[in-house]
Amino acid sequence: MTILVPTKATGATAKTAEMTYVEPAQQVTDDELAAALPDAGLDMAFVADFLSAALTHERCGRHLYRSVAARTNNPVLKRRYEELGQETERHAEILEDLIAGMGGNPSYVSPAARGVEGADTKLVESTSLLGGSLDVTTREMVMLQAVFLAESLDHAHWQTIAELADHLPDGDLKDRWARAVGEVGPEEDEHLEWARETMGKMVMLQAASGTMAAVGAKAEELVETVRGWFS
C-alpha cells in the first residue's frame, strides 16, 4: 500500500490563509515557494501551487480507483479500474519526481490543492453516500461517472502542464517536463476516452436490454446482469 496523503510525518507544508493556520515549522510563503524553484520566466509560486493541485488530484484519483475497484460488481470494470489506478499512482510519482527534481516539496499542499481535494472528496462520497436510493446498476453508473469527472480534470491538468512546458526556456527543466508530459499525456487521452466511451456503452446496454423496465428486479438478478456487461 502506497502512502499518498501528505502529513506532518511526511513533511507536509502549507500556506496560511484567512482561515487556515499552519504551525510555523510547516509554513511556507510564496517567496519561499518561488525561491525553491528555478527561475523559468513564470510566476513560480503559482506554478508550485498548480503542480500541487495536479498532484493532489492524481492522489485522490488513486483513492477513487481503489474504492471503485473494490465495489464494482463487474469483472471487466474491476480490472480496468485496477489498471487505471496503477497508472494514476504512477502519474502521482512522476509529478512528485518532477516537483522534487525542481527543488520543490511534493508534500506541499497548496490552497488550490485543497480546492481539488474538497471536490474529489465529495466526488468519491457521491459514489457511496447515496447508495441507498440507487439500484445496483445505477451505482455502477455513478461510480463510472465519478471516474469520468475525475479523468476530465486530470486530462485538463496535464494539458496545462504541457502548455506550461512550452513556455519554459530551453534546457534541462524543459526536457524533464517534456518527458513527463510525453509519458503521461497519451495515457490521460486514453483514460478520458475510455471513461467517456464506457459511460456511453453502459447507457446503451441498459437502454437496449430493458434492465430498467425490471424495476422490481431482485438485487441479485441485477448483480448478475451487471456481472455480464462488456463480456
Binding site: T13, A14, T20, Y21, A70, E125, L130
Partner: protein, 401 residues
C-alpha cells in the same frame, strides 16, 4: 511504550452489547478522587460527541450498510456512555457535578495547553482556560451561598479556586469567537486529538448548564447557569472552528474513534481504582473494535488506508489529569486582560472604543450580571468571597481578595 491500536484486535463490535444488569454500575463516592470524577465527566462528553457526530453522519447518507454500521456504533457508544455517566453518584447535586465540570475544564485545558505543540492552538487553549477558571470560582461561591458548603472538599484543593478572567467581561460578540483552523495535512496528530477532545468537553458543558438551569430553585443560581452556558457556547464555537473542514465524513469518523481509543487508553494509565481500571480497559478494547469498523469504511468507500491518515502509534504521553496550579497562575499573570478581536486576540487597552466587544457587553450586562451578583451576595453575607488560594495571593493584584 509504543501502542498502535491498528495492530490490536480489540473486541469485535458484534460482541460488544451488554445487558441492563451489566450496565447497572455502582456509583463513585462523591468525596473520592476528584480526578476520577474528572475522568468520568470527560469520557461522558467524549461518548456524547461520538454519538452526535454519528447521527450527523447518518443524516448525510442513505446507504444501508453505512447507516447500519453507524447505528451499531452509536448503540454501543450509548451503552458506554450509560456506564460512564452513571458512575456519578445520585447524592452529587447538579451544582456539585458542575464544580466537577469546571475542574475538568481547568485541568484538562491547562494540561492540553502545556502539551500542545502548535503555538496558535496553545494560545486558543490558554485564552479559554482563564474563563473556565473563573467559572469554577463563581460556582464555588454559589455553592457556599446556597448550600453553605466548601467546594474545596470536592476539588481536594488540586485546583485552586479564585477569580480568572472575570465572567462578566467574557461576553463578546459571536464574530469574535471564530478562529482560523489548523490544516489537516500539516497538523500534528497530537494537536488534532487535543482539539477534538476539548470540543467534546466544552459541548457537554454547554448542554449540561442549560439543561440543568431550569432544575434549580434560587433565581441567582438559575441566572448564573444561564450566563455561564453562554460562555460555554462561545467556547464550543471557539474550539470547533479550529478543526479543518476538509476531512471527509469517513475520515472524521476514524478520527473520532481514534480519539476515543487514545482517551480510554489514557484514563487506564492513570486510574488507581481497580474497578474503574476494568471499565477503562474494557472500553479501550471496545473502541479498538469500533476503530477497525471505521477504518474498514474508510478503506472501502474512500479508498484510503487508515495508515495514510493516522500516526504509527498513540502519543507517548497519556492525557493526564493532574494539578496545574503553577501553570494556571502564570497564564493568569500574563493573559488576564486579553480579549478576542476578530480571529485573534488583543489586550483590552488596545481595543478601539467603537469595538463591537463594548457594544455587546453593554447589551448583555445592562441589567446586572449574575456572575457578579453571586459574589456580591456572598460578600454581604460573609464579608468575603469564597476562594481556595493554595499557592499564595492571587497573581493579579487587581483580583486579590
Amino acid at each position: 511504550m509504543a501502542f498502535n491500536p491498528l495492530e490490536q484486535r480489540g473486541i469485535p463490535v458484534e460482541e460488544q452489547f451488554r445487558s441492563w444488569s451489566e450496565l447497572s454500575v455502582e456509583p463513585l463516592d462523591k468525596l473520592g478522587d476528584p480526578y476520577t470524577r474528572c475522568r468520568v465527566i470527560l469520557m461522558n462528553g467524549i461518548e456524547v460527541e461520538s454519538i452526535l457526530f454519528a447521527h450527523q453522519f447518518a443524516r448525510a447518507t442513505d446507504d444501508l450498510d453505512i447507516r447500519r454500521a453507524l447505528a451499531l456504533g452509536r448503540r454501543i457508544d450509548q451503552q458506554q456512555r450509560a456506564v460512564v455517566n452513571n458512575l456519578n453518584p445520585g447524592d452529587q447535586s447538579p451544582l456539585e457535578t458542575t464544580i466537577g465540570y469546571e475542574q475538568v475544564a481547568v485541568d484538562l485545558t491547562a494540561w492540553l495547553a502545556r502539551n500542545e505543540p502548535d503555538p496558535a492552538l496553545k494560545q486558543a487553549l490558554d485564552f479559554a482556560l482563564l474563563e473556565d477558571f473563573d467559572h469554577l470560582y463563581r460556582y464555588a461561591n454559589l455553592y457556599e451561598l446556597i448550600d453553605g458548603r466548601d467546594a474545596a472538599e470536592l476539588t481536594d484543593s488540586l485546583t485552586e479556586i479564585m477569580p480568572g478572567r472575570p465572567t462578566v467581561v467574557e461576553h463578546r460578540h459571536p464574530y469574535d469567537d471564530v478562529r482560523p483552523h489548523y490544516d489537516t495535512h500539516t497538523v500534528d496528530p497530537l494537536s488534532r486529538l487535543h482539539v477534538m477532545t476539548i470540543v467534546a468537553a466544552e459541548q457537554q458543558t454547554m448542554n449540561y448548564y442549560l439543561n440543568h438551569s431550569a432544575e434549580l430553585v434560587e433565581p441567582v443560581a438559575r441566572d448564573l447557569y444561564v450566563e455561564i452556558s453562554h460562555i460555554e457556547e462561545q467556547h464550543v464555537t471557539h474550539y470547533e472552528s479550529l478543526i479543518d473542514p476538509l476531512d471527509s465524513w469517513f475520515e472524521q469518523l476514524v478520527f473520532h474513534k481514534y480519539d476515543e481509543v487514545y482517551l480510554y487508553w489514557s484514563m487506564l494509565q492513570q486510574e488507581a481504582d481497580p474497578r474503574l481500571k476494568r471499565i477503562w480497559e474494557l472500553h479501550l478494547e471496545m473502541e479498538i473494535g469500533q476503530l477497525h469498523v471505521a477504518c474498514d469504511l474508510l478503506r472501502r468507500y474512500q479508498g484510503v488506508e487508515p495508515e495514510e491518515i493516522l500516526p504509527p502509534e498513540l502519543p507517548e504521553v497519556p492525557l493526564t489529569f493532574e494539578t496545574n496550579k503553577e501553570y494556571v497562575r502564570s497564564v493568569l499573570a500574563e493573559q488576564v486582560d486579553l480579549r478576542a478581536d476578530g480571529t485573534g486576540y488583543r489586550p483590552l487597552d488596545e481595543l478601539p472604543d467603537d469595538h463591537r466587544y463594548f457594544a455587546f457587553q453593554g447589551i448583555v450586562n445592562e441589567g446586572g450580571t449574575p456572575s457578579e451578583a453571586v459574589v456580591d451576595e456572598i460578600r454581604v453575607v460573609d464579608g468575603r468571597d469564597f476562594r481556595d488560594e493554595v499557592e499564595g495571593p492571587h497573581p493579579v493584584a487587581g483580583l486579590r481578595a
